[in-house]
Amino acid sequence: MTTWLLRRLVQAVFVMLAMTVIVFVGVNVIGDPVEILISPDADQAERLRVIAAFGLDKPLWEQYLHFLGGVVQGDLGKSFVFNEPALRLIGGRFPATMELAFTAVALSVIVGIPLGLYAGLKPDGLLGRAIMAGSILGFSLPTFWVGLMLIMVFAVQLGWLPSTGRGTTAEFLGIQWSFLTRDGLAHMVMPATNLALGNIALVLRLTRAGVRENLGLEYVKFARAKGLSPSRVLFVHVMKNIMIPVVTVIGLEFGSVVAFAVVTESVFAWPGMGKLIIDSINVLDRPVIVAYLMMIVVLFVTINLLVDLMYTVLDPRVRLDGRE
């Protein structure tokens, strides 16, 4: 177990190193940040000054080594645009995005699993079919379009919910959170639903597929024959097997949720890091793009580790280290 973990960690470091190279080269290929940031009135002397200030006059490898040197000291560079450390900028936006993403994932589990169980148990019932039809809509609709529709209906037409922004926040553990205030919660309903929609459908379908598949297997027939109650068979035995794909997918999807927050945050003016990254791409704020992507890599590597760990807990047939 420990050796497995260690090996994974070493691999993770290599993955991240490889990533820095790809990202660093990638962002240096696209566009010229100086062109975008500089005053349109600027002359050649001013242009050269800015290029030097950003360190862009040096060759790429030198910039990369400089960057790596900073990373070792926990410094991912300063934003070209804001002149603040990129990590601090992202950190400032981090709680808003995490709050939104966790709420969305929680929503997809809370709504998706019960609906999926029902649809799996009564696949031919009217409600079961309706749920499946609804799930298809769930991931068919483009996020940005659903977002705008939600705003149109619930904020503009009905006036039930605030249209955009994060609302009032309250402090907890030194960080500002929306879920602690009524106003904040009201602001979160639409973006979280918008973000969760696709995953509700995904979880629902996986659950349903799992239920249908497992109900036909010998162990269920056997358990039933043994006289176990149907609810026990479902919630203990079947659930355990269903959870494998569901946990995998939720884990894997979490990063995507964080990334897809890009669109939701733009539509709902939610001040999270997704909006920051889109803005940064638009002005080619390279240090922020690199720092953001690095953070996402760390997040994903962690998630993957956790998912693999969960596998062993949920399905002892999967072994992590060694093979017979």
């Binding site: 005053s39 050649q44 249209s163 803005d279």
Partner: protein, 519 residues
Amino acid sequence: MLRVSKALAVAVLLSAGAAHAQTVTMAMSSAPTSVDPHYHTFNPNETLDLHIFDRLVERDTQSNPIPGLATSWKLLDDTTWEVKLRQDVKFHDGSPFTAADVVYNFDRIPKVVNSPGSFAIYTKTVIAMEVPDPYTIRMKTAAIYPILPVDMSNIFIIPKGLGPNPATEDFNSGKNAIGTGAYRLVSYKNGDRAELERNDAWWGPKPHWQHISIRMIANDGARTAALLAGDVQFIEFVPTADAARLKSDKRVALAEIASQRIIYLWLDHSRTGTPVFITGPNGETLEKNPLNDVRVREALSIAINRPAIVDRVMEGAAYPAGQFVAKGSWGYDPSHDAPVYDVAKAKALLAQAGFPNGFRITLHGPNDRYVNDGKIIQAIGQMWTRIGVQTSVDAITWPNYVGRTNKQEFAAYLLGWGFTEASNPLRSLIYTFSPAKGWGAVNRGRYSNPTFDALVDKAMTTGDDAAREKVVIAATKVAMDDVAVIPLHVQKNIWAMKAGLTYAARADEDTRVMDLRPQ
């Protein structure tokens, strides 16, 4: 008991109502990059900062210079400006405003660390300063420079008490955000919101709002929706698609004005030989760049149905243009109203120039920078195709686009230019590209015309405003006769607010909540 609590409830309601009446929430269309007023020449920063800081020279709604922290300014001789300062003005920290603060600001501006767009372009013409008394300052320029007051209208003043080179980060935290302005900064959250509280000691007319909450909502639809939902009471940059609908909505009032942003097409003047993105009518390589022929340029210009673009694509939120400044503004050349749409004449001109069967061209443009940019180039593509110039259209995101325009990679391409003073586009865009002089800095098409350059040189050494206007008009006429660029339209600036409020619309793109008042 019951009565008391009722009275209390009424009182609470009333005071809440009163407090609400003096609080306004405004939505900006893009987020400032910093509160530091000397950090980045960027319009959203200006909009936020003008509430907190004042400038020596302010601008009226038509962008004419008016007194700000300076009460008057005049030329003592060709190279010396004398500026008189407003007395009894105090910064938010209580320190008095004097000439020493001005000197401090001119000194600090070139030293701001890592500035992505320095304000030094507005201070560099001043080579020396004299302070005969605390409320008078004399600025020396190397050569005659008649538009110094315009440059001063870009510089916000911070107190010298902040010490040598105050950090940009400390402005964002509020520590250094000390100005003389109508509002104090209460809090600032990057990319999200800023909270401002009225400065009752301000020298200007007392603003109506005790408290301003500024939200940053970049998405056009979301900004309009926030206004309609009542979350904000005031928005800037109303999208053209919504303006028509908002006009008929009783809950909302609009304020609009011709802006100082021209949308125009560059044509490639940099190549005389084989052109890029242009081929013969059957795709064959051309020996010569057809865009070097003024008849071709004119044909392309009059083939564009500007009123149709304004009406159908811009939905009325623009004015057709034949030059940079809007009709009625300072420096407008009456001989160049918007060119008249004339397909027959355009075809004839092409034939005269040796292209009876037209040619093929790719028209480039951004799709995320100017209002409806991607749609405008498609519409022009239709119109050019109709005179036999088979046009393909390519819209590119701004970050990938702008660098390529500077390298002369395109044949014809759309850009916009915002300015506050009529000679500025002539100097920056059309004047021969001269890095040493700093002029023609964004002459992306590399147009060059000695007659025109001589006129601009003359304008920039003419101190008298009326005489200078004549020269500016003459220079404009030369450039437009030669179709140096193809002007398309001047955008409208549109603000929208809750019904019952009025706003003094401005030709520059600043949004001043001080100018938002109940009717």
